[in-house]
């Protein structure tokens, strides 16, 4: 049985693409067959976050317009035999695709994969409608900021209006030091305000920037963020995994031992 999951947020820059790259990588590491679909037509980015930008030949528009077969357009990630990417087109815009075409595409993909992760563009216009059309489940990404949470609330309303039943929340870029000082909303605050199920929280971690620079998603790595993403993957698969204790990272001792481990 395959699941089609849209990763969305409303607001831009909260980490949708990074989340998709890491969730895909994590699911592949857990031996699931996953395909990542970049639906952000005109603003393609998932390929660079995955480090697969040099291997693109065909894209989503080519498949939809019948210029190539679905299999030809899929890029296999050589690091994980179970992970594939369907890149977006850079030269067109959101109006090049209709929700009906996206439904057809995701149905075709569902025959071959366990998980189809859709990277949704920011906003609530055509691009959002296309990405949501074929999805059976949604993960809403937000950061602990007023603007991002407001947009997330709006998105949750729109997803429910679209008939999506399973909507989970992913809180990104939590800074435990600021939360302790009272200068950042906590995980509990955000969950209470939005009132949907929390699937995981990812700390604000330098390693995420480094991994994006290198084009190597960090899910499953020996970093707080890497562990958090892998835990989220397990929860997506239905396992009951307790929330990671993000406070641990502030401990000077663990920071030092972490330093030595890396070298």
């Amino acid at each position: 049985m395959s699941e089609i999951i849209v990763v969305t947020s409303g607001k831009g820059g909260v980490g949708k693409t990074t989340a998709v790259a890491n969730l895909g990588t994590g699911l592949a590491k857990l031996n699931k067959k996953a395909v990542l679909v970049d639906t952000d037509i005109g603003l393609r980015n998932l390929d660079v976050v995955m480090g697969l930008e040099n291997r693109i030949v065909y894209n989503l528009i080519d498949v939809i317009e019948g210029n190539c077969r679905l299999k030809q357009s899929l890029i296999r990630d050589k690091r994980y035999p179970n992970l594939y990417l369907l890149p977006s087109a850079q030269t067109r815009d959101k109006t090049a695709v209709t929700p009906e075409q996206m439904i057809k595409l995701t149905e075709d993909l569902a025959e071959h994969f366990d998980y189809i992760l859709l990277d949704c563009p920011a906003g609530i216009e055509q691009g959002f409608k296309n990405a949501v059309a074929g999805a059976g489940r949604a993960i809403v990404v937000t950061t602990p900021e007023v603007s991002a949470i407001r947009d997330a609330d709006r998105i949750i309303g729109l997803l429910e209006a679209n008939g999506l039943k399973k909507i989970d929340l992913l809180i990104n870029r939590l800074r435990m030091d600021m939360i302790r000082r009272g200068d950042m909303m906590s995980m509990e605050d955000v969950v209470e305000i939005l009132g949907i199920n929390l699937i995981g929280a990812v700390p604000d971690d330098e390693s995420v920037v480094i991994s994006t620079n290198q084009g190597e998603p960090l899910a499953g790595n020996d970093t707080k963020a890497g562990q958090a993403y892998l835990n989220i993957c397990r929860r997506i698969m239905g396992e009951a995994v307790p929330l990671l204790d993000l406070n641990k990272s502030s401990n000077i001792l663990t920071k030092f031992t972490g330093l030595f481990k890396k070298n």
Binding site: P144, E145, V146, I149, R150, D153, R154, I156, G157, E160, A161, M178, I179, R181, G182, D183, M184, M185, S186, D189, I193, G195
Partner: protein
Amino acid sequence: MNFKGFFHKNSGGIARDRLKVVLLSDRMKCSPEMTRLIKRDIVRVLEKYLEIEDTLNVEVRLDITRKIEQGVKNVKTIQIKGL
């Protein structure tokens, strides 16, 4: 002990409170400015019919309820006291 927090609220708490107001307004499609105008107009109407002096104490409580997609009802209460 955080001395700054002694005098004014931490910014996380401010964010949470602002967010709650904003989200209620968004979900209700009714902004704080709108409720201010509703209040003002109600007072004007009452003044047309009632001679409101210091001796007459009128209290108006108006509940605006909107059912939203989540199936949860959002209620916004406008209270006008001591006209």
